[in-house]
């Protein structure tokens, strides 16, 4: 067997929590002041965003750990020509792994040896300058990604043809639409010709036909004997493109092997997430109990159950309820579903009272369905709380943290932008213009 293209040995990355958020001398002084007075200074400092790792980070902090291991003792090899997928939930360590392999940051311990020329694609269009033309930016972007000027010149026509941007190549990119921008950027990256390509979720960009083209191009690259390490939430793409997959969980490897069984197992666990105690057996409920919530789940418009939601899609939130008294019906029953983020702040709430759509429950199981036309919550893991009441007066039943809702990927804005989930959980489409 030949030398592995990527060899990862006991790779670990630790973030020190105490130091987060001290960015000015005043902060520093405050930090020490809190320490001197014997208070926990960490409470005083808002955590700055570090992407999806926030949730585990905060948990670690709550438990009083001064350290947080985003990646712990990860070891695996990737053979030359292999296409390997990295999967896992938000905050499992995927991005950290990629950041270390692309040398954006250093590991805390362990090592990785990469044999061959590496190009990484963590975000398309890195280094694009709005004032420069498409042509100038292709060169700029290419050199940032590690190519030589003459290599880019040799491939220039091919890149432009792939992007279908011949007409606009001498226009400053600030006049491009976001779609055009992404096309050009992906074209540069796809034609880099590296021996090893590290990719993070770039396939979520552009329109469907361009996405198809991108996947096709990746397949070509893979067939050309290149090694690809591909981080994605798109399980179909992982199964199709990758021969092997690594499933990361809480900073470690949960499973590694042929992509199909790993993806299957992963999806299975996702479906079952948070289902340790069936909702109807939960005792931690509040309310009069005249009616009860027996189950809560989410489906798409075709009625398929969903464990992972995407922003911008349509969903049906189902509350299965039952009258617990001898009454034959219960009128004016309101239903509410709330999502809480990792800090336990309620960030999203739907309530049938708001739109005067309270229902009358009948005997047997009632399925109260809430249609979400445009799910506008950003990537992250949330906890859903559900409650029913009579009108706005009597609380019938409410269950806090009834289910975990995992929101991943998606393309809410149609541009591939994800918003800034670390800072704001709500997505809103807006239109911008200059008022004259």
């Amino acid at each position: 067997m030949s030398e592995p293209a990527i060899s990862i040995r006991n790779l670990s990355k630790c973030y020190r929590l105490g130091t987060i958020g001290r960015h000015t001398l005043v902060d520093e002084a405050q930090y020490w002041w809190h320490k001197i007075r014997g208070k926990d200074p960490r409470e005083h400092f808002a955590k700055v965003g570090h992407g999806a790792t926030d949730r585990r980070r905060v948990e670690a902090e709550k438990e009083g750990n001064p350290e947080f291991w985003a990646l712990k003792d990860v070891s695996f090899d990737v053979q030359p020509g292999e296409v390997i997928g990295i999967i896992g939930r938000n905050g499992a360590g995927k991005s950290t792994l990629l950041k270390i392999l692309t040398r954006i940051t250093e590991p805390t311990s362990g090592e990785a040896v990469i044999d061959g020329r590496v190009a990484s694609l963590l975000e398309v269009g890195t280094g694009f300058h709005p004032e420069l033309t498409g042509r100038e930016n292709v060169f700029m972007n290419g050199t940032i990604l590690g190519m030589k000027s003459r290599e880019i010149a040799a491939k220039f026509d091919e890149v432009v043809a792939f992007s279908e941007m011949e007409k606009f190549i001498d226009t400053p990119v600030k006049r491009y639409s976001s779609g055009m921008y992404v096309r050009l950027a992906f074209a540069v990256a796809a034609h880099l010709d590296p021996e090893i390509l590290l990719i993070d979720e770039v396939l979520a960009v552009g329109d469907a036909s361009f996405q198809k083209k991108c996947i096709g191009k990746m397949g070509d690259v893979a067939k050309g004997g290149r090694t690809i390490l591909f981080v994605s939430h798109n399980m179909a793409a992982v199964e199709n493109l990758c021969s092997r997959a690594v499933w990361l969980e809480n900073g470690g490897i949960r499973m590694i092997g042929d992509s199909a069984p790993v993806v299957d197992q992963y999806l299975g666990v996702l479906q079952g997430a948070g289902k340790t105690v069936a909702l109807q057996d939960r005792a931690d409920r509040q309310g009069s109990g005249r009616a009860r919530i027996l189950d809560f789940y989410i489906t798409d418009m075709e009625g398929r159950r969903k464990a992972v939601l995407s922003p911008g899609k349509k969903y049906c939130f189902h509350l299965i309820c039952r009258i617990m008294t001898a009454d034959r019906q219960l009128s004016n029953v309101s239903a509410a579903i709330a999502l809480h983020d990792h800090k336990n702040d309620m960030i999203w709430l739907v309530n049938s009272n708001f739109t005067n759509e309270n229902q009358t429950l009948a005997e047997g199981n009632n399925d109260i369905v809430c249609h979400i036309v445009d799910f506008n919550v950003a990537e992250g893991i949330y906890s859903a709380s559900v409650s029913i009441g009579q009108g706005s007066i009597e609380a019938l039943d409410s269950i806090y943290n009834a289910a975990e809702v995992d929101v991943q990927g998606g393309d809410y804005f149609g541009t591939g932008a994800k918003g800034t989930p670390a800072a704001c959980k709500i997505l809103t489409r807006a239109h911008w213009e200059l008022s004259r």
Binding site: Y15, E28, K99, R103, E111, D115, T126, E131, L132, S149
Partner: protein
């Protein structure tokens, strides 16, 4: 090509070979900055001439004509302009490298390239601006010379490239320090313009070094590495002033000390700075 990613690389290890590999990026960064700055401006590169020119005029009026600070017998305009163009270069390089990490976080947290490329590019970008200013300065210089001003250009002019190099390395060295410290203390970003301004008055730009006579003060003045650059360059063109060779030696020692320590500090900080930004 083999890349080894390992924790805790030696602090003194700077991969110069890799930086050389990325020279095309350096060239493009310089080109990008030079072209992008002027796009959609009416006067374009003239802006980089107007700033030092106006400064010189203001200095000439205020310090020369109103405050009547002596200029060692050199025409006021030439005296102030010679100091100003070197100071502008130093300040340009310093600002550019000071902002190299914090100002490029969005790129640096998405893609890897040797981060030293960014501060290094500042030397060349500002060199282009210096060339413009220098041409203008030469025009004024010859105009005053042929108009019969008592100036005595001499052999020190051959050392001008060395002075410019020193000026750039100094700006780079201090800039590297600032950029590394800004990662931890954002205050520096606000303090920097103020510090630079104070520093300028601590450098013989609006006054000649010769008016400082107390030995202690004189030592302090020459401890400022920019003093030698300004005094020697001015002396080269006019034959006036009080260049002290030992002072230049001290200046080089300071420059190299700041530059080398700055390189190591920057190198250490850049490896994990995206974690704390």
């Amino acid at each position: 090509m083999r890349t080894v990613i390992r924790a805790n690389q030696k602090w003194y290890f700077i991969n110069w070979r890799e930086i050389a590999e990325y020279r095309d990026l350096l060239i493009l960064l310089v080109k990008r900055d030079l072209t992008a700055i002027y796009k959609q401006t009416v006067l374009g590169p003239l802006w980089f001439v107007i700033q030092p020119l106006l400064t010189t005029i203001v200095f000439t009026v205020i310090f020369g004509n109103v405050a009547r600070i002596p200029t060692d017998g050199v025409p006021h305009f030439i005296f102030y302009m010679s100091g100003t163009i070197f100071w502008t270069y130093f300040q340009g390089v310093l600002n550019h490298s000071a902002a190299s990490l914090v100002g490029n976080t969005n790129v640096l947290s998405k893609v890897y390239f040797p981060r030293l490329i960014i501060p290094l590019s500042g030397i060349f970008i500002n060199l282009a601006h210096l060339a413009l200013n220098f041409t203008l300065f030469l025009a004024f210089f010859f105009w005053f010379l042929f108009a019969g001003s008592s100036m005595d250009p001499n052999a020190w002019l051959f050392l001008l490239p060395v002075l410019i190099l020193q000026c750039g390395l100094m700006g780079l060295g201090f800039g590297l320090w600032v950029s590394a410290l800004t990662i931890k203390y954002r205050d520096l970003r606000f303090a920097l313009p103020f510090i630079i301004q104070l520093w300028m008055y601590f450098t013989p730009i609006v006054y000649p070094a010769s008016i400082v006579s107390r030995p202690a003060l004189k030592f302090l003045l020459w401890l400022n590495p920019m003093t030698a650059v300004v005094e020697f360059s001015r002396h080269a063109f006019t034959g006036q002033g009080s260049p002290i060779l030992a002072g230049w030696g001290l200046s080089w020692a300071m420059t190299l000390l700041v530059l080398v320590s700055g390189l190591f500090l920057f190198n250490k900080v850049q490896r994990t700075f995206v974690d704390t930004i």
